[in-house]
Symmetry: C2
């Protein structure tokens, strides 16, 4: 396998690039330290609003000219505000790189942020909040985040309606100016390219980018506990979280394996116990949400009113039962599943580009798929069971959406 | 590029396989003529019910043993009932092929379909219907299908509650026995394999499979027209359809290009006119649903109550305005977008495996990506505009979900 190249420009921008033999596509992920956590406490929504406005003209081009130019190159792109970073993602045919990158980088460096783009962008941002009424599963998970995580980690990715209603174009420009900066940004590429040519192009286009990341804002601790949101529905959505080790902990792979025993494949415990044996829910999963400085297990189940209490009981019961240990066969299936997922990731330029950019933030450097696979191979059943015994779930944050509260 | 191999076994099973250089994964799609259209008119739901039960034991293995065995090999699989076919899909590391295929084929040929699996499977199937209450976008599109398409094309993929409630294990077994047959089934592979070894394995395992496809059931024409479904929500979901040429028509690529002008990329007309200029909707798209014997344009917009009427007016207006023609720049962007999508498809073994299996049904043979790209390259702006002028949208079927009907 070719090497993954990592370089830091003099202005503090980290660039990481993994050529993938046989690929024709090229995927790019640009992370700038302009995430939800960087929003002033009373301007929540400025980051998602910017993810609308940044697509409406840049580099002296109107919205129309700019999106026409990218579509003429066949560049698929997306923007969103995550907790720590604002992400600009793009996928293109590798041969279009030199034409596409100037247009994409213009979005970060010279967005127009025109006065007339504000009103429709605010409208769309508020509609995104309103549309949660019709997406109760997503709403349950967002409510869980806001109850479980301390600010700023639990901030709603859609923003806060009242803050959005008061936003001016100056608010947006100020946020962009302060947080779209070279130092602290990470640029990841994976797929079809000549590494020297790619790095030279990036250096030409971004070498004179400046600025430093500002510290993130935050104002408190998560409340945890049990919360109910009333909805007039025959369905109940159950969301559940408890804290565990962060992604930077040496036992991270053990935590991933534990979640795979619960929720990896059709033989996973949740699928078997909650869904298959009892027919309780149509949808159930648990996932390890590892971050640089914290980690959590999040779980979800969607069911009907009469089955809701039993579903919650079985779901939280299975999460707690994990500390009693797993057997050899469960362990082996979890390991095989994790390694298969790594192989699949290696065949997607988009997944690889996003993954190595995230690695730079979390671990300080990209991890090759071979390295990740060797980490998975190195763990043993005894290690996993010792880890599970030493780390039973503590207090769980529980959010339910439905006509009646449940007994936690 | 290596050749795509197509072969028909003496029992009538068509096998099609595309090796993908550099891939490590292997994707399989098995289509059997046991789709929604094959369900007896008063047993709608037996196909989705079977997609539950077929995962609960096969080849003499219990549900647990069978899913453990597949997960031990790291095989990701899924089953669903489409209009014409029942699909068993799987993705695995290529080296696991010889161990995985017997387990996967057992699902089709020797599923246990045990009495005790019926009740939880029926429960889950009915929950899938109930959960539509909390997925109004999906509900709007299903309602559109049932109004727009003649039976059996418009049948609900979730089945009919009353039919499901009356199902016995004998109903399921009879449906499986009659419709899981070799002749008329299509088996597609893409990714990492030795073609000779793969075909020999398939021949060993499925050479003695028998049976013939039974004709599909159907009882009438789509009603079309304008339909409103009342919901107590601040959101309105608009779904819209009109008939156009089938996938087998020589102008198919022109119809695809027309839809790309509407809905391909951020410079697409719908995105620009409905979303960006007017800020009307958070989500809007149009798609060409080409089938072997019919084709339709389907469109969707999700918005709020005060914006709903204008959204419907602009959406249907843009669909009709297409017949006035598109300009050179729109045409070029559509062509580039379509060709980029083909390149992306070529990097996904799952997408390629599914695509060549579908090709066998629609066109009688698989189409290489090079061939598909050459078809796209061959069309001209003049051809597209002549096609659009000659094929203006006729009557539209419109379904709205929301608190009030709209004016069509």
């Amino acid at each position: 396998m070719p090497e993954i190249v990592q370089t830091v420009l003099p202005n503090g921008l980290t660039v990481v690039a993994e050529p993938i033999p046989g690929a024709s596509s090229l995927a790019m992920t640009l992370l700038t330290p302009a995430g939800l956590a960087s929003q002033p406490v009373d301007q929540q929504g400025v980051a998602p609003l910017l993810s609308e406005m940044i697509c409406r003209g840049a580099g002296g081009k109107t919205a129309r000219q700019h999106s026409d130019a990218l579509d003429t190159l066949g560049v698929q792109r997306s923007t969103d505000a995550q907790t720590r970073f604002f992400r600009i993602g793009a996928t293109m045919i590798g041969s279009k790189m030199k034409e596409a990158l100037p247009l994409l980088f213009d979005m970060a460096r010279t967005p127009t942020l025109a006065e007339e783009a504000l009103a429709p962008s605010v409208d769309l941002s508020i509609q995104a909040i309103d549309s949660l009424a019709d997406e109760p599963q997503r709403r349950a998970m967002l409510e869980l985040r806001s109850q479980h995580y301390p600010d700023p980690v639990g901030r709603p990715p859609v923003g806060v309606r009242e803050h959005l209603e008061n936003m001016t174009v100056d608010t947006v420009r100020k946020f962009w100016f302060e947080h779209f900066v070279a130092r602290g940004s990470i640029l990841g590429f994976a797929g079809s390219f000549d590494t020297d040519e790619l790095l030279a192009t990036v250096n030409d286009l971004l070498g004179d980018w400046g600025g430093e990341a500002h510290p993130a804002h935050g104002q408190g601790a998560g409340t945890g506990g049990v919360h109910h949101v009333h909805t007039d529905s025959t369905q109940v959505h159950i969301a559940l979280a408890y804290p565990t080790i962060p992604d930077t902990h040496e036992d991270r792979v053990l935590q991933q394996a534990a979640t795979a025993v619960l929720s990896g494949g059709m033989s996973g415990r949740l699928f078997t116990e909650v869904r298959e044996k009892r027919g309780l829910v149509y949808s159930v999963y648990a996932t390890y949400a590892g971050q640089k400085d914290r980690g959590d297990v999040l779980a979800y189940a969607g069911t009907t009113v009469p089955r809701a209490q039993e579903t919650l009981d079985v779901l939280s019961g299975e999460l707690r039962r994990l500390s009693e240990g797993v057997n050899q066969s469960e362990f082996e299936r979890a390991i095989v599943g994790m390694k298969s997922s790594l192989v699949m990731q290696g065949e997607s330029t988009t997944a690889r580009g996003a993954s190595i950019a995230s690695d730079v933030y979390v671990f300080g450097q990209p991890r090759s798929l071979e390295y990740a696979a060797s980490e998975v191979d190195a763990v043993t059943l005894d290690q996993l069971n010792a880890y599970l015994k030493a780390n039973p779930p503590g207090d769980m944050t529980i959010v339910t959406l439905g006509p009646e509260p449940l007994k936690a």
